[in-house]
């Protein structure tokens, strides 16, 4: 069975829990005492991932690190519909990769701001918040124009892809870093759409969509 080295409050770990829930993949978690224990910097964990970062998965001996890389692996291997990672569509694959890289930018800004405010990480908080707003503006415009064209998701596909999963958590958790989403209505509608995907699960800090369908 897939083993996920996991920390509940990590949005990057949640990406994997979310995709595995949607795909109906069984997995077990190994809780890592990320905070305050810093177990991700311990000897045993560094042997698993020398970068000292969560998440890591171990699938029958295949050890992978990096949330985006693991999303690619899980979708390519365990999604029979082939929509979450559209292996046979070069154009879509390019788009997916573009937004996976964008997700790393969200982690470097919005997630860093959240770690600063909640867990006292020493970062340039103003630069993190400004950087997050710049990315959110780009994301919001992309989603707004997509809505005009009848596109619901980040990539030009009828169904969501792992790109949506990769960008979603740290957008949803941004207010914990003092980054309001009030000015990004298309982002809010996109988050609500993702919350209504079958198999969606929450993490601490992210609540389910309201039961009534949004107008």
């Amino acid at each position: 069975m897939i083993k996920l080295y996991d920390y509940e409050l990590s949005g990057n770990c949640y990406k994997l829990r979310l995709l595995m829930s949607i795909l109906g993949v069984d997995y077990e978690t190994v809780p890592v005492d990320f905070y305050p224990g810093r177990e991700h910097k311990s000897d045993w964990f560094l042997r698993l991932n020398p970068l000292g970062q969560l998440p890591v998965v171990d699938d029958d001996g295949l050890v992978l690190r990096d949330a985006q890389a693991i999303l690619v692996y899980l979708a390519a291997r365990y999604d029979p519909s082939g929509t979450w990672y559209p292996r046979d569509d070069p154009r879509l694959l390019g788009e997916v990769s573009q937004w996976l890289a964008f997700a790393d930018g969200i982690t470097a800004t919005a997630s860093a701001a959240r770690l600063h405010d909640g867990l006292f990480y020493d970062v340039d908080i103003d630069a993190c918040r400004a950087g997050a707003h710049r990315l959110f503006r780009i994301l919001d415009e992309h989603l707004w124009f997509g809505e005009q064209e009848g596109r619901d998701w980040l990539c030009a596909a009828a169904a969501p892809t792992i790109a949506d999963i990769a960008c979603f958590p740290y957008v949803m958790l941004s207010e914990e870093g003092g980054i309001s989403r009030q000015d990004y209505p298309a982002i809010r509608r996109w988050c609500d759409r993702l919350k209504r995907v079958d198999g969606f699960i929450v993490m601490s800090g992210i609540f389910p969509a309201s039961r009534a369908r949004a107008a």
């Binding site: 509940e8 890592v32 005492d33 305050p36 224990g37 405010d117 867990l119 003092g178 800090g205």
Partner: protein
């Protein structure tokens, strides 16, 4: 700005407050903290940590207990809260992970006392619909002047990391200091004993706090990482709710917010804060 108002409440100024989890302090470096609107610096020395005010460069009282660094801006009038359970060898005694929250610490204490939100905020863990009713419970003052809520019962689908299914859980709440609250909760394995959680809230300023949980869980069937993970799972669910409370300070006027029967302990807590002249982090009642 209210964040800059200094604290004049003797009950707070002359008491101990946590300013850091010792395990997270970087070795050999100065640690910055803020307490009651005052910026502090903690430096490690051979005899322990020395804490100074950055506004006056004067030293303040500092000590270490329960894995935390404590400071008192005034003259300590009483010792740090005694927790007899920390001497029991079959318990994990661990810090739960200090988390910053953009709200008055009094709001954080009050939220900790509230069972009514369990099914809606901690869905599937500490509560679930349709089991939403908070049964009547008792609130009184102890001989030591603490607020005690007893006979609290609630149906919980996953009350603890070791719970194997839903169960009726017995709670006792105790507010021991204005910014300190404790919870005693039946252990799912040794049902005659109680797990203990203390929440020490550091008033950073009037509208910001750090929640420092101390976990005293029976070791039976659970490791320390699991205990911490569960605490952070639950507190991570509370955090956005707390940060969206308005106003950020706790109103002490009985007419400011509308309580229901389930809020009996909260009503009592607010009155107790008025009786102790706690104004910092509160919106005082008008007479």
């Amino acid at each position: 700005m209210s964040q800059d108002r200094s604290c004049n409440d003797p009950v707070l100024v002359n008491d101990w407050h946590i300013i850091a989890d010792l395990a997270t302090l970087p070795q050999g470096q100065t640690h910055r903290a803020r307490l009651l609107g005052v910026d502090l610096a903690a430096r490690e020395s051979r005899t322990g940590y020395a804490v100074t005010r950055l506004d006056t460069n004067e030293p303040v009282a500092a000590t270490e207990r329960y894995g935390f660094l404590w400071a008192c801006l005034g003259t300590p009038e009483r010792d740090i809260v005694a927790i007899p359970e920390t001497d029991e060898p079959d318990r994990h005694i661990i810090t739960g992970g200090s988390i910053g929250v953009r709200v008055s610490g009094l709001r954080a204490v009050e939220n900790f006392l509230d069972m009514g939100h369990f099914p809606f905020v901690h869905t599937g863990w500490l509560g679930e619909e349709p089991h939403t009713e908070v049964q009547p419970y008792q609130v009184r003052l102890t001989e030591g002047g603490e607020v005690l809520a007893t006979e609290c019962r609630f149906f919980q689908p996953a009350a603890s990391p070791t719970a194997s299914g839903g169960m009726m859980v017995d709670y006792i709440y105790k507010v021991v200091r204005p910014y300190t609250v404790a919870l005693y909760k039946s252990n799912p394995v040794q049902t005659d004993r109680l797990d203990v959680i203390f929440l020490f809230v550091q008033p950073v300023d009037e509208e910001n706090c750090v929640a420092h949980p101390l976990l005293c869980y029976l070791k039976d069937g659970i490791d320390a990482a699991g205990v911490r993970a569960f605490m952070q799972l639950i507190f991570g669910q509370d955090k956005p709710i707390l940060e969206n409370q308005y106003p950020k300070r706790l109103p002490l006027d009985p007419r400011a917010e509308t309580p229901i029967r389930a809020d009996a302990v909260s009503v009592y807590y607010r009155r107790w804060l008025r009786d102790h002249n706690v104004r910092y982090g509160a919106i005082p009642a008008h007479h």
